[in-house]
C-alpha cells in the first residue's frame, strides 16, 4: 500500500486520482504510459488497458482518460523533484530511476550539440516501468551454480530473449550468492549496474534487495566498472547485465585472471545463437563460462528452458 502511494506521488493531481481509483493489484502492474493528447495506457498482467475516469480498466480507447500537455509537465516536475537540471545526465540517457526502483523512460525533442545528445526538451512521452523483485526466482538454479569442491560458484551466463526476466533472475542470484545459504557461505559480490536496472539505485541506495555482501557501482560503464571494483572492493563475484562489447571482453578476461567469479547476462535465444556473436563466441570457445542458463517465456516470464555446463551439455531441463 505504501509502495502504491509512493508511486502515485509522481503523477499529476488528476492522474493520481484516476490511478488511485483503480481496483487492481499493483504488484501485477507492469507499465504505465503517458503520451501527450493520447489516452493513458497501462500494462497489467501482460495485457494492455485504458483507464476510465473512475478508475476502471477499459479496452475502448475513447473511454480512456486523455493525458494533456500540462499533466505531462506536472508529472515531469514531480518525477524530477522540481529539479530537471539535477537529472541532466539521466535525461541524456533517456531514463530516470526513482525511489522504489521504477524506471521512467522519456522521449521528446532532443537537443544536439555536435554529435552528442545534449539534453531533451518538450518531453511528451513518459513510460513508467515498474520494478518488481521476484524473490526466490533463482531457487531452482542455485544448486547448479554452487561449486562445492572449491567452495565457490561457477562462472555463469544467463541467455534470454528480451523481456523474459533475465535481469530479475540475475538480481535474485546476486542476492542468494551474497547472503549465502544453509550449505553455502555468502560471498562478496560487486555489481556494475550500468543502467540502474539490477539494484535500481536511488541516490546511491539500492531499492532492490541485493544481499548483505553486495557493493553496487551505479550508472557506471561496465568495462570500466569491473576493473574499478576489482581494485577498490576486492569482490569474490562480479555481476553485470548485458555484456557484448569489445571492451567488455577485455574486462572479463581481467576479472577471471584476478580469480573473481563472473555472473553475466546476454540477449539471445539459444547457445548457438550466442556462439555466433563476435565477443561472446570467443568467450564460449575458450570455455570461460562453466554454466549457461537459458530462459524463455513460453509458459510464463522467467521460465527456465535448460541449464548447460561448459561444454554445452544439458544438466537440467
Amino acid at each position: 500500500m505504501e509502495e502504491k502511494d509512493e508511486l502515485l506521488k509522481i503523477f499529476s493531481m488528476k492522474l493520481r486520482m484516476t490511478l488511485g481509483n483503480m481496483r487492481i493489484n499493483f504488484d501485477d502492474l507492469q507499465e504505465i504510459r503517458l503520451r501527450i493528447n493520447c489516452p493513458l495506457i497501462i500494462n497489467y498482467k501482460n495485457k494492455e488497458y485504458f483507464v476510465s475516469e473512475d478508475g476502471s480498466l477499459v479496452t475502448d480507447p475513447l473511454k480512456g482518460v486523455l493525458v494533456s500537455k500540462n499533466e505531462i509537465k506536472e508529472t515531469m516536475e514531480y518525477i524530477s523533484n522540481y529539479s530537471l537540471y539535477a537529472f541532466e545526465e539521466e535525461i541524456r540517457q533517456g531514463f530516470i530511476t526513482i525511489s522504489g526502483g521504477h524506471r521512467i523512460g522519456i522521449a521528446g525533442k532532443t537537443i544536439i550539440q555536435g554529435n552528442h545528445i545534449k539534453g531533451m526538451k518538450y518531453i511528451s512521452f513518459i513510460n513508467i516501468r515498474l520494478a518488481h523483485q521476484v524473490k526466490g526466482c533463482a531457487d531452482k538454479v542455485m544448486p547448479y551454480l554452487i561449486d562445492e569442491k572449491n567452495r565457490s560458484i561457477y562462472h555463469t551466463l544467463i541467455i534470454s530473449p528480451p523481456k523474459c526476466g533475465k535481469t530479475t533472475l540475475l538480481r535474485d542470484i546476486i542476492r542468494q550468492v551474497s547472503d549465502g545459504g544453509p550449505n553455502f557461505q555468502g560471498m562478496n559480490v560487486g555489481v556494475v549496474d550500468e543502467r540502474s536496472e539490477i539494484g535500481a539505485c536511488y541516490m546511491g541506495v539500492p531499492q532492490n534487495e541485493l544481499g548483505i555482501r553486495t557493493d553496487v557501482l551505479d550508472c557506471c560503464p561496465k568495462a570500466k566498472g569491473m576493473m574499478m571494483l576489482i581494485r577498490s572492493m576486492s569482490p569474490q563475484v562480479i555481476a553485470v547485465d548485458e555484456i557484448g562489447s569489445k571492451e567488455d571482453l577485455e574486462a572479463i578476461n581481467h576479472v577471471i585472471n584476478c580469480g573473481c567469479k563472473l555472473i553475466a547476462t546476454v540477449h539471445g535465444s539459444s547457445l548457438e545463437d550466442v556462439k555466433s556473436k563476435p565477443v561472446l563466441g570467443e568467450l564460449m570457445q575458450n570455455k570461460i563460462f562453466e554454466r549457461y542458463i537459458i530462459l524463455n517465456n513460453i509458459k510464463s516470464i522467467g521460465n527456465i528452458e535448460k541449464i548447460c555446463d561448459a561444454a554445452g551439455n544439458k544438466i537440467w531441463g
Partner: protein, 173 residues
C-alpha cells in the same frame, strides 16, 4: 502649561523614534539582503557541485540557517515534498508572500525574489547556474547601492524625525 510642555516632549520623542525606526529598518533591510545573498550562494554551491534537487538543497539550507529566513525555507521545502499539484514557482511565490513579514525586505525585493523563483527548476544545469548568478549579481547591486546611501539616509531620517517633532510641537503650542 505643564501639560503643554509634557505634550510637546511626547510629540518630539515619538517623531524622533519614528525617524530612528526608519533608519533602523534601512539597516536591517541591508542585513536581510545580505542574508538572502548568502542563502542563494549556498543554493548555488549545492546545485553546482552536488547536483542536488531543489527540495533537498533548500531543506539542507533550512537546517543550517537560523535567521529571518528559516520559516520561509522550511515552508518551501515542506510544500515541495507534499506535491499537491502546485508548480515550483507557485510554491515559491506563496512562501515569499506569506513567510517574509518578519524581514525588512520591501515590495521590490519580494517581487524580484518571486521572479527569480519562476526560473528555477526546469532548465538545464548551465542555465540554472546562470539564473542564480544573475540573481546574486542583482542582490549585490542592490546591497552596494543601499550601503552607499545608508549613511546619508540614516542621518536624514534621524534629523527629519527630530525636526518634524519640533515643527509639530511649535505649531500646536
Amino acid at each position: 502649561m505643564i501639560f503643554k510642555i509634557v505634550g510637546c516632549i511626547l510629540i518630539i520623542l515619538s517623531s524622533t523614534l519614528m525617524g530612528f525606526y526608519c533608519s533602523c529598518e534601512l539597516k536591517s533591510r541591508i542585513d536581510d539582503l545580505k542574508e538572502l545573498r548568502k542563502i542563494i550562494m549556498l543554493l548555488r554551491g549545492d546545485i553546482r557541485y552536488g547536483n542536488t534537487p531543489l527540495p533537498e538543497a533548500i531543506n539542507a539550507i533550512a537546517k543550517r540557517h537560523d535567521g529571518n529566513f528559516k520559516n520561509f525555507l522550511v515552508k518551501v521545502s515542506d510544500s515541495l515534498r507534499e506535491r499537491l499539484g502546485n508548480t515550483f514557482s507557485q510554491i515559491w511565490a506563496q512562501a515569499v508572500e506569506k513567510e517574509l513579514h518578519i524581514t525588512s525586505l520591501n515590495k521590490r525585493d519580494k517581487y524580484q525574489m518571486i521572479q527569480f523563483g519562476e526560473h528555477l527548476g526546469y532548465l538545464d544545469k548551465e542555465m540554472q547556474l546562470n539564473t542564480l548568478d544573475l540573481y546574486i549579481a542583482q542582490l549585490d547591486e542592490e546591497i552596494r547601492e543601499l550601503s552607499e546611501t545608508v549613511k546619508e539616509k540614516t542621518y536624514l531620517y534621524n534629523s527629519l524625525g527630530i525636526m518634524a517633532g519640533i515643527f509639530i510641537a511649535i505649531i500646536l503650542a
